[in-house]
C-alpha cells in the first residue's frame, strides 16, 4: 500500500554498475597484459562485458523512463545536469590534447628543425578533405536541429528523415577520415607531429562514432514511438553530444589542420 511521497526516482537494485566496474578492471589490466604478454583474452572479455553492461544498463533506463514513468521533471533535470557535467568533463579531456599540441608547436625544438610543421613532415592540405569534413559536420549540426524541431512539432516522418540524414553525415565523416588516415604521408610514429595529430584527431573520431551510435539509438527509439513532443531527453542528450563533437572538430581544424600546416 505504501507509495513514494516525492517525485524522485529510487532506482531498483541493479547488477550493471558492478559488471561495469569489472569490465573496467578487465579492460585496463587486459590492455596491459596485451602490451606485455601478447594475450588478448582479458581485454576482449572486458570489451564484451562493457558492451553488455552498456546495452543492459541503458535499456533499463529507457524502460524506467519511457515505459514506467519514473522520469518526472525533477528527475529529468538531474539527467540534464548529468549530461552537461559529462560533456564538460570531455571538454577537459580534449583540452589536455590541445595543450599538448600547442606546447610542442608554439616552441618547436631543434630536433624538429626549430619549425612547425617539423622538417620532413608533409601536412595535409586543409582545404581539401579536412574542409569537406568540416562542411559535413556543420551540415549534420543543422540536420540534428531540424530533427529536434520535427520531434517538438510532432512531425514523425520529418524527424525520422532528418535524424537518418544526420547519422549518414556522421558515417560519411568517419569514412572520409578513415580514408585520410590511410592515405596520410605521415604516421603516429613520426615525431611529436604524428603523436599530437593522431591522438587528438583519433579521439575525436572515436567520439564521432560514439555520437553516431547514440543518434542511431535515438532513431530506433523514434521509430518505436518512444519520444513525445514534450519529453524526449534522450534525443536532446544525443544532440548536445553531437554539437560538442562538432565544436571539437572546429577547434581541431583551426588549430592542427589550418594553423599547424
Amino acid at each position: 500500500m505504501a507509495h513514494q511521497a516525492h517525485a524522485y526516482h529510487m532506482v531498483d537494485p541493479s547488477p550493471w554498475p558492478l559488471t561495469g566496474a569489472v569490465a573496467a578492471l578487465l579492460l585496463t589490466s587486459g590492455t596491459a597484459i596485451w602490451m606485455h604478454f601478447n594475450s588478448l583474452v582479458l581485454m576482449t572479455l572486458g570489451l564484451v562485458l562493457l558492451l553488455l553492461t552498456m546495452y543492459q544498463w541503458w535499456r533499463d533506463i529507457i524502460r524506467e523512463g519511457t515505459f514506467q514513468g519514473h522520469h518526472t521533471p525533477p528527475v529529468q533535470k538531474g539527467l540534464r545536469y548529468g549530461m552537461i557535467l559529462f560533456i564538460t568533463s570531455e571538454v577537459f579531456f580534449f583540452l589536455g590534447f590541445f595543450w599538448a599540441f600547442y606546447h610542442s608547436s608554439l616552441a618547436p625544438t631543434p630536433e624538429l628543425g626549430g619549425c612547425w610543421p617539423p622538417t620532413g613532415i608533409t601536412t595535409l592540405d586543409p582545404f581539401e578533405v579536412p574542409l569537406l569534413n568540416t562542411a559535413v559536420l556543420l551540415a549534420s549540426g543543422v540536420t540534428v536541429t531540424w530533427a529536434h524541431h520535427s520531434i517538438m512539432e510532432g512531425q514523425r516522418k520529418q524527424a525520422i528523415q532528418s535524424l537518418t540524414l544526420t547519422i549518414l553525415l556522421g558515417f560519411y565523416f568517419t569514412f572520409l577520415q578513415a580514408m585520410e588516415y590511410f592515405e596520410a604521408p605521415f604516421t603516429i610514429a613520426d615525431g611529436v607531429y604524428g603523436s599530437t595529430f593522431f591522438v587528438a584527431t583519433g579521439f575525436h573520431g572515436l567520439h564521432v562514432i560514439i555520437g553516431s551510435t547514440f543518434l542511431a539509438v535515438c532513431l530506433l527509439r523514434q521509430v518505436q514511438f518512444h519520444f513525445t513532443s514534450e519529453h524526449h531527453f534522450g534525443f536532446e542528450a544525443a544532440a548536445w553530444y553531437w554539437h560538442f563533437v562538432d565544436v571539437v572538430w572546429l577547434f581541431l581544424y583551426i588549430s592542427i589542420y589550418w594553423w599547424g600546416s
Binding site: 628543425g113 626549430g114 619549425c115 622538417t119
Partner: protein
C-alpha cells in the same frame, strides 16, 4: 666597432635580449644556425666569410659540445633538420 675589433675583444657570449630567460637552448641553436647561414650567404656572393666568426664564437661558448657534435654530424650526413 668593426667586426675585427668585436672579435678581438670577445671574451664570452654577451647578453642577448632575444633570449632573456634561463633556458638558453634557443640562443645556442640560433647562433649555430646563423653561423652556417652566414657562411652560406657570404660564400654564395664570393665574399669573405670572416664576419661569420662572431656566431661561431657565440655558439662555441654557449652550446653543449655533444649538441654541436651531433649537429655537425647531421650536417655532414645531410640530415640536419634546421633550415640553413
Amino acid at each position: 666597432m668593426s667586426y675585427e675589433e668585436k672579435l678581438k675583444n670577445y671574451r664570452t657570449a654577451p647578453f642577448d635580449a632575444r633570449f632573456p630567460n634561463t633556458n638558453q637552448t634557443r640562443n645556442c641553436y640560433q647562433n649555430y644556425l646563423d653561423y652556417h647561414r652566414c657562411n652560406k650567404a657570404l660564400s654564395a656572393k664570393n665574399q669573405d666569410p670572416a664576419p661569420c666568426q662572431w656566431y661561431h664564437r657565440v655558439y662555441k661558448s654557449l652550446c653543449p659540445i655533444s649538441w654541436v657534435q651531433k649537429w655537425d654530424g647531421q650536417l655532414e650526413a645531410g640530415t640536419f633538420p634546421g633550415k640553413i
